[in-house]
Amino acid sequence: MSAAATTALPAAAPAAVPEPRASRAPLWLILPAVMLFVGIVLVPLAMTVLLSFHDWGQYKGIEPVLTLKNWQEIATDPYYAEMFGRTLRIALITTLVTALLGTPEAYILNRMSGRWRGLFLLLILGPLLISVVARTLGWALLFGGANGLANKLLMSLGLIASPLPFLFTETGVVIALVHVMMPFMVLSVWAALQRLDPQVEHAAMSLGAGPLTIIRRIVLPQVMPGVLSGAIIVFSLSASAFATPAIIGGRRLKVAATLAYDEFLNTLNWPLGAAVAVLLLVGLILIVVGANALVERRYAEVFR
C-alpha cells in the first residue's frame, strides 16, 4: 500500500528505488571516456608490462616468449639498484627542498597586497609557460663548466678559483628540478592558504599568541595537507622526470627515466627498458598511494 502511495507522489518522497532505465544512463554517458582511457592508457600499459617479460638478443631482436630474464637482471645487477637509488634520492631531496622553500614562499605571497601578489604569482607561474628543456638549458648555460656565465662572473670576481661543478652532478640535477617543480608546491600550499579563515589568526592573536607561534601552531598545521599533496605531486614528477636529468645529468648520471630511454633508443633492448619503466611506475604508484592514505588518515578527523 505504501509503495503505491510513494509512486503516486514522487515529488513528496525522494525516490528510494530509482527506475532501472534511469540508472543505466550514467554508464552510457561515461562510456566514451572509458573507451578513450582503455585505448590510450590501459592497452599500451598492458603491452609494456607484457613486453617486459619478452626476451631480447643483440642479433635476434625481440622474441615474444615469456621469461623472467629482464626482471632477474634488474634484481641482481647492482647497476640498477644504483639507478633506482639515485632516482629516489634525487626525488626525495627535491621534494624536501621545494617544501622548505615553497611553503614560506606561498605564505608570503598570500600576505602580499593585491597588486604585488598578482605580479609575484606571475613570476612564480611564468616558468610553467616555458619548456622544461629551455629552463634546464638555462641552468646549463649559467653553470656549465668554465664557460658558464655565472661561473665566469664568480671567477672573475675572485670568489671561486675553479668553476662550480654543476653539470653531471646530483646537486645540479636537484637544483634544476627544484626550480622546475617549485610552482606546483607553491600552488598547492597557496590553495590551502586560501581556505584559511583570516579571522583565525586574529583569534590566536587575541588569545596572546605572537607571530611565530601563530605560524607554527595555527597556520602550518592547517596548510600541512596542502604541503603534503604538493609533496606528492613534486615527488612523482621528479622521480619520473626526464628532460632535466637528461640535460644536467647526461649519460654520466643516469636516473630511471633516462635509463629506460637509453634501453629503448640506444641499446634497442625494448624488453629491458619496459621492465625498468614498469618498475618505476609500480614503485611510484605504491609510494604515492601509500603517502596519500597516510595523509588522509592523519587528517580525516580535522578536514572532513
Partner: protein
C-alpha cells in the same frame, strides 16, 4: 554626546576615536565610556562603522585619530596579543585542527598556565557553555551553535578584562539565536564580564544590552538604555532603525492654545513649533477609537500573538499592531479611526518625507 559614567571609573574609554580608509571615513568622533560589568551593544546597519570600532578596540586596526584607554591605560601602542581581551568572531574562527578542549586551552597555554590548572579551567569553561561531553570533538564535526559555544568558552577562559562579540549570533537560525541570547546574557551576568556586542539585529541589542550605541554612517546617533533609545529616539534614523514607526504629516494650527492636528486627531501643541510638522508614533501605540484620524484598513495580517493592520489615512500610510487578546478586530476595507496618546509620539518640524 558623552554619557555620564556610572558609579565606578570607566573600564574602557574611547575618546574622539576616528578611522579613515583613504578618503572614506568609516568612524568619526566616537566617544564612549564603558563602566565595569556593563553590556554595551553597537547597533547599526552594515557599513555604519560598528565592526571597525570593535576592531580598533581589539587592536586589529589602528585608529586614525583619538585614543582608546583600558583601565586608564592608553591602548594605542599595545599589541592585540597583549590586550587581554576575549573576542568571539562572526565566523567563530575556531582552530579547525584542534578539538574543543585544545581550542579552549590555547589561550591558557599562551599564558603559560600549568597543565593541571589548564585542564581544570578548560573543563569548567566547556561545562559553563554546556559542552562538557564534547571535549574531543573537532569544530568541523560540531553544529553552528556548538561551535559558537566553544568560541565563547575560548574567549572567556582566559578571564579577559572585556569580552568583544562581533555579530556572534548572526549565523544561527532564529530559534537557536534566541536561546543563545538568553544564555549569553546569563553567562555575562554571572561572570560580570564587561561586554561589547556588535550587531545589526535590533531585537538582539534591545534584549541583551544595558546600553545601546546606535550608529549610522560612522557616527553615533544615540547612546542610551534599550528603553530610552526605543521610546525616545534622538533622531529620525534611530526611530526608523529601532522598530517600526509611522510618520504622519500634521500641522500646528494657531490660536490660543495652539493645537496639533492630523486629520481628525488633535492634541494641544507644544510651544515653539509652527506650521507643518511630522508626527512619529510606534505601531503598537496606536489604537482604534471612536474619534481620531480616519483610516481605511487596506490589509489585515494575522501573526499569531498579534494582528498587523496596514491602513491608509489622509496623513500617510499607517501600520497598527494590536495584541491578539480575543477582542473583535476590524476587517479589511473597513473604515476605522486611529488615536494615540500625545506622550507616545515624537514631533519634528517639516513635512513627512
Amino acid at each position: 554626546m558623552t554619557t555620564p559614567s556610572r558609579s565606578a571609573a570607566p573600564l574602557l574609554e574611547l575618546d574622539r576615536v576616528a578611522k579613515a580608509f583613504g578618503s572614506h571615513v568609516a568612524v568619526e568622533d566616537f566617544n564612549l565610556a564603558v563602566a565595569p560589568g556593563e553590556f554595551i551593544s553597537f547597533l547599526g546597519p552594515s557599513g555604519c562603522g560598528k565592526t571597525t570600532t570593535l576592531q580598533m578596540i581589539a587592536g586589529f586596526l589602528a585608529p586614525s585619530r583619538g585614543t582608546i584607554r583600558l583601565e586608564g591605560r592608553d591602548l594605542t601602542s599595545v599589541h592585540p596579543s597583549k590586550r587581554g581581551l576575549g573576542i568571539v568572531f562572526q565566523s567563530y574562527a575556531l582552530f579547525p585542527h584542534m578539538n574543543a578542549a585544545e581550542n579552549v586551552a590555547f589561550g591558557l597555554e599562551m599564558q603559560r598556565i600549568g597543565k593541571a590548572e589548564r585542564t581544570e579551567r578548560v573543563r569548567a569553561a566547556l561545562a559553563m557553555v554546556g559542552l562538557a561531553a564534547y571535549e574531543d570533538r573537532h569544530p568541523r564535526r560540531m553544529s553552528g551553535g556548538q561551535q559558537q559555544r566553544v568560541a565563547l568558552a575560548r574567549a572567556l577562559v582566559i578571564r579577559p578584562s572585556m569580552l568583544l562579540l562581533d555579530e556572534p549570533l548572526s549565523n544561527l537560525d532564529a530559534k537557536l539565536r534566541e536561546e543563545m541570547q538568553i544564555e549569553l546574557r546569563q553567562i555575562q551576568r554571572n561572570l560580570g564580564t564587561t561586554t561589547i556586542l556588535v550587531t545589526h539585529d535590533q531585537t538582539e541589542a534591545l534584549s541583551l544590552s544595558d546600553r545601546i550605541v546606535v550608529m549610522s554612517k560612522g557616527r553615533i546617533e544615540q547612546i542610551g538604555t534599550p528603553q530610552d533609545t526605543y521610546e525616545r529616539p534622538a533622531s529620525a534614523f534611530v526611530a526608523q532603525f529601532l522598530g517600526k514607526t509611522n510618520d504622519f504629516a500634521a500641522r500646528i494650527e494657531g490660536g490660543s492654545p495652539a493645537r496639533i492636528v492630523a486629520g481628525g486627531w488633535s492634541a494641544p501643541a507644544p510651544v515653539g513649533l509652527r506650521g507643518p510638522v511630522t508626527i512619529s508614533v510606534r505601531p503598537e501605540r496606536i489604537g482604534f477609537a471612536e474619534t481620531g484620524l480616519p483610516a481605511r484598513v487596506a490589509a489585515r495580517i494575522f501573526q499569531g500573538n498579534h494582528w498587523l493592520f496596514q491602513c491608509e489615512t489622509e496623513c500617510g500610510p499607517a501600520i497598527v499592531v494590536r495584541p491578539n487578546d480575543g477582542a473583535g478586530q476590524p476587517g479589511e476595507g473597513e473604515t476605522v479611526r486611529l488615536a494615540w496618546r500625545p506622550e507616545d509620539m515624537s514631533l519634528s518640524a517639516g513635512a513627512a518625507a
